[in-house]
Structure formats: structure tokens, C-alpha cells
């Protein structure tokens, strides 16, 4: 079985192809604001370097977010169209689930994505257990929660936080694919990004309705 993995939820492009427990090829590269320009081209190059055709893939695993809204939609559009057009199975996982798998330590693992204005997207994991589900919350609230756990914890992130020591994220694509490749697939029409947050306009409208 051949699985195509894609994560564009940050300013990095992470793609890989896994075949029968082996990582055949992958790319991890920071593109910043040029992610939309190069993602599809890099995918084509990866396929070509492995002499693979789009139809050779059996399954697609795509990171649905949370993270950069624009970034998420790049990978999600590609994965959705790919799965729909060639009738491939598609599985979504969150960016935080993927990040949690990149460390192998006997500590609580806290993947973290900067959501600005003192907020973060985070999850709290210990081995195979999710201690706190993925969510959008205040960084201060997360730290309070972690202190109460009374366990050693480690932050992992692509972003830097002035008050925190974080380990840089580099995905273990093979490990992620092996863990999630048997997860139930979704109808490509119904695959949607994980934003965890309404748009500002929707929030303002909701607040003004609450006030009335």
C-alpha cells in the first residue's frame, strides 16, 4: 500500500510517500509566504523522483489544521481534489496530533501553534493518551493547566515564544503515517479544514447578537 502524506498547515511544506512501512521519499522545507507557489511543483517532483504516477497512490493522509488558514487550504484543496478525482481514500489528522508523534520521550508532550494575541492552538499528550484535546486557548491558561498536572512536560513548536523553551518541530512522517493509515477514511466532499476558530466577522456578529 502506498500512502501520500501532506502537511501545509504552517510555513513549512512536509510531504512524503510511505510504502509498506518504508518512507520512500519526503521533503521538509520552509517556504514562508511562497508555500502556495511551490507545493504542487514539489509534489510533482517527489512523484517523478520515485517514478510514481498519481494513480499509484492508495491513500492520502492530510493535515487539516489548526494553523495558518491559507496554509491549511493549500494542502486540503490538493488532497480533496486528488481523492475526489482519482477516487482515493482520504484521512485527515490534526497538526497537533502529527506534532505530538515527533518526540519519543517519557514526558508530557505539548505541541503548540501560535494563534496570536496571547492565544495558541495546543493539545496535551502523554504516550498514547490525550490529556487535553486539541483546542484554541490562552497560553496563560495552558500553562496553568500544565503546572497543575505535576508532571514533566515539553513544548514542541515551529514558532518561538518569548517566555517558553520549545523544541523545534520536524515531523516523523513514517511514524505518523503508520499510526494513522488505518484510521477511517472520509468522503472527499466532506473533508474540511480544522480551524478551531470562527472568523473575526462571525465572532463580531455573534457578539453583537449576544449584546442585543
Amino acid at each position: 500500500m502506498k500512502v501520500f502524506y501532506i502537511d501545509t498547515s504552517s510555513s513549512y511544506l512536509y510531504i512524503g510517500i510511505v510504502e509498506d512501512c518504508k518512507l520512500k521519499g519526503s521533503l521538509k522545507k520552509e517556504y514562508g509566504t511562497n508555500l502556495s507557489k511551490y507545493t504542487m511543483d514539489e509534489i510533482a517532483k517527489l512523484f517523478s523522483s520515485l517514478s510514481l504516477k498519481p494513480n499509484d497512490i492508495d491513500k492520502i493522509i492530510v493535515v487539516s489544521g489548526p494553523g495558518s488558514y491559507t496554509g491549511i487550504r493549500i494542502g486540503m484543496t490538493i488532497a480533496k481534489i486528488y481523492a475526489f478525482a482519482l477516487q482515493k481514500e482520504i484521512i485527515t489528522i490534526t497538526s497537533l496530533d502529527a506534532m505530538a508523534l515527533s518526540l519519543d520521550v517519557d514526558k508530557v508532550i505539548v505541541p503548540l501553534i501560535d494563534a496570536r494575541r496571547g492565544f495558541v492552538y495546543a493539545g496535551v499528550y502523554y504516550k498514547d493518551t490525550v490529556l487535553m484535546p486539541n483546542q484554541y486557548l490562552k497560553l496563560d491558561d495552558l500553562c496553568t493547566y500544565l503546572d497543575k498536572l505535576n508532571k514533566d512536560y515539553v513544548f514542541i513548536s515551529n514558532n518561538s515564544f518569548p517566555t517558553l523553551k520549545v523544541l523545534p518541530y520536524s515531523p516523523d512522517i513514517l511514524k505518523i503515517v503508520l499510526k494513522y493509515q488505518d484510521k477511517e477514511s472520509i468522503n472527499p466532499h466532506l473533508v474540511e479544514p480544522t480551524y478551531f476558530k470562527l472568523t473575526e466577522a462571525e465572532e463580531n456578529l455573534r457578539n453583537s447578537q449576544d449584546d442585543n
Binding site: 507557489k37 511543483d41 488558514y69 493549500i74 484543496t77 490538493i78 481534489i81 478525482a85 466577522a201
Partner: protein
Amino acid sequence: MKDIYILGIESSCDETSFSIVKNGIEEISTVISTQIDIHKKYGGVVPEIASRAHIKNITFVLEECLEQAKIKMEDITAIAITYGPGLIGSLLVGVECAKTLSFLYNKPLIPVHHIAGHIYANNLVKRLEFPLIALVISGGHTELIYMKSDYSFEKLGATLDDAVGECYDKVAKVLGIEYPGGPKIDKLASLGEKKYDLPIPLNDDTYDFSFSGLKSAVINLVHKEKLRGKEINKEDLAASFQDVVIKSLTKKTMHAVKEYNVKNLILAGGVAANSGIRKEFQKLCEENNINYTFPSIKYATDNAAMIASAGYYAYLKGRRADLTLNAVSSDELK
């Protein structure tokens, strides 16, 4: 010659659309998913909400388009995509979709400028005749274009500030009319008389337009009348406003028609659906013996059929993009 089937994709603002057009003129199928109802409650298009709706709808719209056409992706000759100008987040969903299809089926990718699409909406009504002058008027654009042949564009002038459609929507807002207010102003104008005095903006010999001053003039007028305790007659204000818009558009456009000695004039863009503007151009073109075309209402607003039609002529001219094609929020029509 073998028939050429172009799959057009349009997602530059708040419409997700796919279309298949044969040989640049024959529409096989077009599906448009509009988000007007979603954005209405915000008084205008909210870019992030638009992007979210595009990715939600995209495979449904593509599927319906292919089903209606009874054509398989394998039978498509090339894929034409609006790469800009427009809302960057919205454009990106369409561009990534087009690039993915191009990769999956090994089909050529044709980058199409949104304005070129609006011009070619007319080609689906009647084959364009050259040379021509095109007046493109919509919520985002007000441009005068000279074309001496297919897919060759020379910009003569454009708005220096607001687009004409944007001005319509803002005036509608001041009058308490729900978004999108343009069509309603057009309707009100037909019921009123030109009783309010408004200035004709940028009344000079250039081909440029300006509408922000006119918008301010309307806002000031409404406020002044309110302070005086007088009630605004909406029909009369709409008629006065539309009259000034028409004078500005027709003066510059007919000037270009004469200067460039062309016999063909086309209207394009969403505001080309405005009945007052259409009628005045009709009259002027009849008087001056000019062939005049405007798109049917169906093709005036954003749709992928116009992108597929423009894409056909871009394809014949050898225009191609590779997989590094990017969406751009603003770009000159070339």
C-alpha cells in the same frame, strides 16, 4: 481541426464556478455556487468566510459540472484558471485545484486574468469582432480596454479609486438598502427623476474614472438633508446618481471608440447587468453605427464559462503556466 474542450475554474471572489466550453464559444456545462446569502448579513464579502466556503464547495461544484457535461477529465484538452486579480485566499483555492487537476491528468494549465474572462463572457453571446473597445465594470473593476485581436489587451484607463460597482453598493448602504445594493439602485432609478445635483467625477479628456468623490457627494447630501429635517426621496436620488455614473461612463467610452476608430463596443462585468447603463450605450451605439454587445445576465457576474472561453484563445496563443503558478491579488491585464 480537433475539438478543444477547456475546463474553466473561477474562485476570485464569492462564487465557486466550473465550466466546460468547446472551441471557445460553445458552453457545454457551467455550475456556479454563489455565496451572496452568506455574506449578506455582513454587508459585503468577508474574505476569510469566502475562502472557507470555496474549499467546502469545490468538489461538489466540479462533480456537478462534469456530470452535466457528461465529459470525463481525461477528455478535457486544458484547464483555464483565474489566477488574479481578486481576493487572494479565494483565488488560492481555485489555483491549487487547477494545479492539482493539471498534475493528476497531465493537462496544460492556462492562466487567465479575471478581466479577460469578463470580456470573453461576450464571446459566449456573440463571437467578438475586432478591433473593439471593452468597458469592464464590476464591484472590483472599472477599466477601458482596447483589443485589436483575440487575447491582446491594451489598457486605456481605469478607475483611480473606487470601482463603479463598489460605489453603487456604498450608495445603497447609505440609503439603507441591503447588500448587494447595485441592482436595487438600478430599479429605484427607473422610478425616479434627476432632481438632485451631483458632480460628474473626473470630467476630463483622460480615459480614467473616479467614483469616490461621487460616493462622498451622495453621503454628504443625505446627511445635509437629514440635518434639515428633510426626507430623501430614494427614487430621485438613485436616478440622479445613476445619471451621473452613466454620463461619466459613456463620455469616456464613446471618446475611446472615436479616437481608436473602432466599430465594436462591448460591456463586461457585473455592472453590465445594469439596465440604465445598457440602455444608454444601446442608444449611443445606434446613433453612431457601432456594433454593441453586452453579456446576458447569466454571464455578466463571475462565472467559469467566461474563463474557459478566454482560456481557449489564451491556449491558442500558447499561453501556459507550470505548477508554480501562484494567485495574485492585483495584476495588469496583458
